[in-house]
């Protein structure tokens, strides 16, 4: 092995825990019972709400073709400049430039459709703010290069002024979403607003976007990211959000407080409830999410962006009624428990009560058993011990 590879291995650190998590998630997904999908009426509701706004835009365009109005190369140049500054490269990838431009357009048209327009006064205020920002930055070498010989005023007039209605509308859209999700961190609220905007845009302007991308020589590009799948239980509901704990099962709610459930499973996230989605406390759900964040890294609770959510069969954990509790108790006293904090990221395959204590049983990939007891610890049984316990439990 070469020395550089050795150094890279050191810097990545141990990946054994990550491997186990990946394995358990894949196994969890494959063990799922058939889904009962929630019939989202999210987009249809949004679309219905938006039709009036959309028609208004069409009428205001005075019959001009929408595709001709949507994209233009001057605006694209501006977003190319922004990407160039952000990535500190002379030649930012076209899809990044396009993606940023499309997101701005999407937010604008989505905001318009919800009735968020801008007055001249608001545009003037935005103009002043943006001009001052650029004025403060004009000595920065990157900005200097972009303004070039034409100078700030000319640049601002050509590129920024035409976008002022978009910026104002986007600001109003974000404000509206902030009121809708008051407990979420601001940047996550913006993510949610942008995702809804892109969904709206994709519903209405796919053809226009596709033809502009072709003009730019891009393959079809989508701003909707693929999410990873998590399975768990809805532990709490807020007016516009649900609190999801990965790996938790509905029965946990009967015996454990919210804090104890979080302590047991660790991965706990607030997700927005999309308009029209039917979700209630105790639902066992599968969530697809592309990102989550925590404002305070010391807290387990996170806030996430979901692409989809579906209620699934909650009977994934088989509850066992012990026929021979004394024998099982003796067995559990003899095994080598690892005390301390552990977490479970998928629902247990079995669980049973013993003297008022719930013992969760997970079947590993090697068909051995892992036992977990809240506030005590867990133990991974050998093949031989696993077979012995299977016999005692009748599984």
């Amino acid at each position: 092995m070469n020395n550089v590879k050795k150094e890279l291995l050191k810097v990545a650190g141990d990946m054994a825990t990550s491997k186990e998590r990946v394995k358990e998630r894949i196994q969890g997904q494959r063990n799922l019972k058939p889904k009962k999908p929630i019939h989202f009426i999210v987009m249809s509701a949004v679309v219905t709400l938006c039709i009036v706004g959309f028609i208004t835009i069409q009428l205001l365009d005075g019959g001009t073709k929408q595709s001709a109005q949507l994209f233009n190369h001057t605006q694209l140049e501006y977003f190319e400049d922004l990407e160039r500054i952000m990535w500190a490269t002379q030649d930012p990838p076209k899809e990044f430039v396009y993606g940023r431009y499309e997101q701005q357009l999407a937010s604008y048209y989505f905001a318009q459709s919800l009735g968020f327009d801008s007055t001249m006064k608001e545009q003037e205020a935005e103009k002043e703010k943006r001009y001052n920002e650029l004025q403060n930055l004009q000595e920065d070498p990157k900005f200097k290069e972009i303004f070039g010989n034409r100078g700030l005023d000319s640049y601002f007039e050509k590129y920024v002024e035409p976008l002022l209605p978009m910026y104002v509308a986007e600001k109003k859209l974000n404000g509206w979403y902030q009121e809708k999700y008051p407990t979420f961190p601001e940047s996550m609220v913006h993510d949610i607003a942008e995702q809804d905007a892109i969904r709206y845009f994709n519903t209405h302007f796919t053809e226009e976007a596709k033809s502009f991308q072709e003009e730019l020589g891009l393959k079809y590009y989508s701003n909707i990211p693929n999410g990873s799948t998590y399975v768990g239980t809805v532990v709490e509901l807020d007016s516009n959000a649900f609190f999801f704990v990965e790996g938790a099962i509905p029965e946990d709610l009967e015996r454990l407080s919210k804090a104890k459930i979080i302590e047991k499973y660790k991965n706990a996230t607030w997700y927005p409830i999309e308009d029209g989605a039917l979700v209630k406390k105790g639902d066992y759900v599968e969530v697809s999410s592309s990102s989550s964040m925590s404002e305070d890294t010391s807290k387990v609770e996170r806030y996430g962006l979901q692409q989809s959510m579906a209620v699934i069969d909650p009977t994934v954990t088989t509850k066992l009624k012990l026929q021979n509790p004394d024998e099982v108790a003796v067995f559990l006293q003899q095994v080598n428990w690892q005390q301390g904090e552990t977490s479970i990221i998928r629902p247990p395959d079995y669980s049973f009560m013993l003297d008022g204590v719930r013992v969760d049983v997970l079947v590993t990939h090697a068909k051995t058993l892992r036992l977990h007891v809240l506030e005590y610890g867990d133990v991974k049984l050998s093949e031989k011990s696993s077979e012995q316990l299977k016999g005692l439990l009748g599984i």
């Binding site: 070469n2 020395n3 550089v4 590879k5 150094e7 890279l8 291995l9 050191k10 810097v11 990545a12 650190g13 990946m15 054994a16 990550s18 491997k19 998590r21 990946v22 394995k23 998630r25 894949i26 196994q27 997904q29 494959r30 952000m86 490269t89 990838p93 899809e95 990044f96 993606g99 940023r100 997101q103 940047s187 993510d191 942008e194 701003n223 990211p225 693929n226 990873s228 592309s290 990102s291 404002e295 890294t297 962006l305 990939h365 090697a366």
Partner: protein, 168 residues
């Protein structure tokens, strides 16, 4: 999970997790990427001809680069610049990386094109022609990227570390 898939995960997951981590520099995201790679792999009819590792590696590289193109990632980078407090945990992770290996941490700080050339050449131990094939670029471009990457690393490394890099 069937036994074959489990065996494949056992054999390859840690390597792929490291590779994804070197691209996205986030362990949590690397797990998601590798999870998607195995799910994609298990839904396809792969015919084993002794090229499984290369196949999974290519899937991981593509998935990682897809993630780096997403709007979310770009905003994450922007937020790091705008909200340094929020980026604290990310920085802590990078400091930990530096403590583990100066060379490794310096490689992680390289821009994607340079980092990728180093990763494929040293970590994946691919030949120049193989890298060119995977990245669909000319061999000379690969050589140029490697040379630039080594040059970019020079100021971050001590003399003996630099020598290690150029002589391998």
């Amino acid at each position: 999970m069937n036994g074959i898939l489990e065996k494949i995960i056992d054999d390859h997951a840690e390597h792929l997790l490291r590779l994804a981590y070197f691209y996205v520099k986030d362990r949590h995201m690397a797990e998601d990427i590798v999870q998607e790679v195995f799910i994609k792999f298990s839904s396809q009819e792969y015919e084993e001809r002794g090229l499984l590792r290369a196949y999974l590696t290519t899937l991981t590289i593509n998935k990682s680069k897809d993630y780096l193109k997403t709007w979310h990632y770009k905003k994450f980078i922007l937020q790091e610049k705008l909200f340094p407090v929020r980026a604290k945990s990310h920085r802590d992770a990078l400091i930990e990386a530096e403590e583990r290996s100066q060379i490794g941490a310096a490689i992680l700080k390289l821009p994607l094109q340079s980092r990728e050339a180093i990763l494929l050449y040293y970590f994946e131990e691919m030949k120049i022609a193989e890298i060119a094939s995977v990245l669909k670029i000319p061999e000379n471009t690969v050589k140029t990227r490697l040379r630039r990457a080594r040059e970019a690393l020079k100021p971050h490394l001590k003399q003996e570390e630099w020598e290690v890099l150029v002589h391998e």
